[in-house]
Amino acid sequence: MEGSSTNNNSPQSPGNHLAEQLFEKLLSEGLVTPYGKYVFIQQLALGELKESHWRNALNQALQPQISSNEPDNL
């Protein structure tokens, strides 16, 4: 069957694109925080977002904001 050598997890890949969309939607609903955005998106796209990661992310959104100066993880 025909195939390709595409890296489906490159920054512009459909998986990453959808992961970014999902993150923004979850963020707009207040279900996640902006902290650790890039790691979250990467893990989401790669299927590495385990149950515990989801729990932590959702819990974090329920806590008071820690600091507005905390940088995003890359």
């Binding site: 390709s4 999902l22 939607k25 979850l26 977002l49 990661h53």
Partner: protein, 597 residues
């Protein structure tokens, strides 16, 4: 990116080194050649350089990678290289594998072969989805989504557990409240009030009472030991007296003296130790040591009874003295215990008659023996008082324990309530997140499929204008996660399965359009399109339109390579500005592959 040159040696049909130069000014290459000239060799070389596939060998059964090596050549001779203006990719054959360098190609290769063309348009929906998944892989998102689904499930289970635990503790407290007579009309109010009560006073009182009990028990124990040792001492004194009397009587009747027995024993021991002495150390008379020793022994034997009596008297004396010492210690211990007891007793309420005895016992001038006697007379009363204190201590302990029980369980109620609430909020958010992920994923795929469908239809109309065909739609089945449906229009019939009404050539071109749309959407400037002999059933008019379509769409790719056995294509398109035409000549055993012109 521009392709510059392809080098092939010892690979498939390239039994001799072969080079395919690309014209960097042209974005489409037509590679023409009759069967067996090496078109598939060139296609397979590109596939092996840029993907993990084996090219046309993938379509055949019973093959392995060693088949990639050209006949009559060694595996280590195999050499592939693709040179571009952005770098080169090379490949060699080692340990039965194709080793690429770099391992990740700097370009993307999308390839379609004849065998795949029909499959693409006529595959069952699930297989068609698999092909699509090869272009945009959302399996990672699906996996993350499944993990979120698992979280929702586990949160529900946790929630049930918290609710169950909370209910159990609440029931427990409620039952205690009922047993207590349902005070304050509300068990929660009662539990909260009870748990906030300050019971330090009760704890202090319990400590005092326990201290008193301990001290009293200690004193009573010391007194018991005193009484026992006194009795034993008296018995030992009696035994001693009898033993002394017996010895005295025996000495009197036998005329023998215990001191003489001692002297005889010492003389015997001296003679035994000094067996070489020949004279008596006392009177200096000559002696025979053995005889003297024997004589001394015989004499002692004659006094055996006295010896036994003397030994018994000695034993009785020692035992009596030992017990006297023990009694002295017991008296001292009792004195200390009594002193501590009397100190503790000051903090206690006593009956009047016992207070008198206590006052007397507290007199520092009174000898300890007298105090012990006084204590003995008050013993019964003290035992009764002690029992009363034990009952008091148990009652206070029960109060303290109940308070602890209520406090602990009330805290547990509050904790479980809070945790259940937090969990419920988390569960609600997790459910909401799951809906967002599911719906967004499906909407994303629908959008992608709509866009792909639009492109497919655009291409198809370009190939089949005014034929009243097209209206291509790719969509997911409603309840299917991985089932991709394909419908099209056939004249006045809308939404038909193309394989039911389209001709073979129309199905071929439909497959080509789907492939082209996918490659365009998920490709980009670094994508090379390889179409390996896919135009088998296409007539000239449609061929022209197809080439025209490739020329139009070539701006979206780094390069398009189309192989065909139709030499007529070369005649039609050679010399056109953006198309490079390469013709392969006859293959031979001596020279391998060759290009013409």
């Amino acid at each position: 990116m521009k392709l510059l040159k392809l080098e092939i040696d010892a690979f498939r049909g390239a039994i001799r080194p072969f080079e395919l130069p690309f014209d960097p000014g042209k974005s489409v290459t037509l590679l023409l050649g009759e069967n067996g000239t090496g078109k598939s060799t060139i296609a397979d070389a590109l596939i092996c350089l840029c993907t993990d596939d084996m090219g046309s060998l993938d379509d055949r059964s019973g093959v392995d990678k060693s088949f990639l090596v050209a006949a009559g050549r060694n595996p280590e001779d195999l050499h592939l290289a693709l040179h571009t203006d952005a770098g080169s990719i090379t490949a060699r054959f080692e340990k039965k594998k194709i080793i690429r360098s770099p391992s990740d190609a700097p370009l993307t290769l999308r390839h379609l072969r004849r065998s795949s063309v029909v499959a693409l348009s006529t595959a069952v929906p699930s297989a068609r989805y698999e092909q699509l998944a090869g272009y945009f892989d959302l399996s990672g998102i699906v996996k993350s989504e499944d993990n979120l689904r698992l979280l929702c499930k586990n949160l529900k289970l946790e929630n049930d557990r918290f609710v169950s635990a909370l209910s159990a503790v609440q029931k427990l407290l409620e039952s205690v409240w009922t047993n207590e007579g349902s005070p304050l009309d509300d068990w929660e109010l009662w539990a909260e009030t009870e748990s906030h009560k300050d019971i330090n006073e009760e704890r202090l009182q319990l400590r005092r009472v326990r201290n008193f009990i301990e001290q009293t028990e200690k004193t009573l124990g010391a007194h018991d030991r005193l009484v026992v040792t006194l009795k034993m001492g008296e018995q030992a004194a009696q035994t001693r007296k009898l033993a002394d009397q017996q010895l005295a009587d025996l000495q009197s009747t036998s005329g023998q003296d215990e001191a003489l027995l001692t002297l005889l024993q010492q003389a015997h021991d001296f003679v035994a130790r000094h067996a070489d002495h020949e004279s008596c150390p006392v009177c200096a008379q000559s002696i025979v040591p053995e005889q003297l020793k024997q004589a001394l022994y015989d004499r002692m034997e004659s006094m055996a009874g006295l010896r036994v009596a003397a030994t018994e008297a000695e034993t009785a004396r020692r035992e009596h003295e030992r017990l006297q010492s023990v009694w002295q210690h017991a008296l001292s211990d009792f004195g200390n215990a009594l002193s501590d007891f009397l100190t503790t007793a000051q903090q206690t309420e006593w009956p009047e008659n016992f207070k008198t005895a206590l006052t007397e016992m507290n007199d520092p001038e009174l000898p300890i023996r007298k105090r012990a006697e006084l204590f003995a007379t008050s013993r019964l009363q003290l035992d009764m008082l002690l029992e009363g204190r034990r009952i008091t201590a148990d009652a206070i302990q029960k109060t303290v324990d109940q308070h602890g029980f209520i406090s602990e369980n009330w805290l547990s109620v509050l904790h479980n309530r809070q945790t259940a609430m937090d969990n419920a909020v988390l569960l609600r958010n997790a459910d909401k997140a799951l809906k967002i992920v599911e719906n967004t994923r499906k909407a994303f795929i629908d959008t992608e499929l709509a866009a792909i469908s639009a492109d497919v239809d655009d291409f198809y109309q370009a190939l089949h204008p005014k034929e009243n065909l097209g209206g291509v739609r790719l969509f997911l089945k409603e309840k299917g996660k991985s089932s991709l449906e394909l419908t099209a229009r056939f004249h006045e019939y809308e939404d038909v399965a193309p394989q039911s009404l389209y001709s073979e050539s129309h199905l071929d071109t439909l497959a080509l359009c789907i492939f082209l749309a996918l490659a365009k959407r998920y490709g980009g400037g670094e994508t090379v399109l390889l179409l390996d002999d896919v135009l088998g059933a296409t007539d000239d008019a449609h061929l022209d339109r197809f080439i025209g379509l490739l020329r139009r769409e070539s701006v979206h790719f780094a390069h398009i390579l189309l192989t065909s056995h139709q030499r007529a294509l070369g005649e039609r398109f050679r010399g056109q500005g953006d198309i490079q035409v390469v013709e392969l000549g006859e293959w031979s055993v001596e020279k391998g592959m060759a290009s013409v012109g």
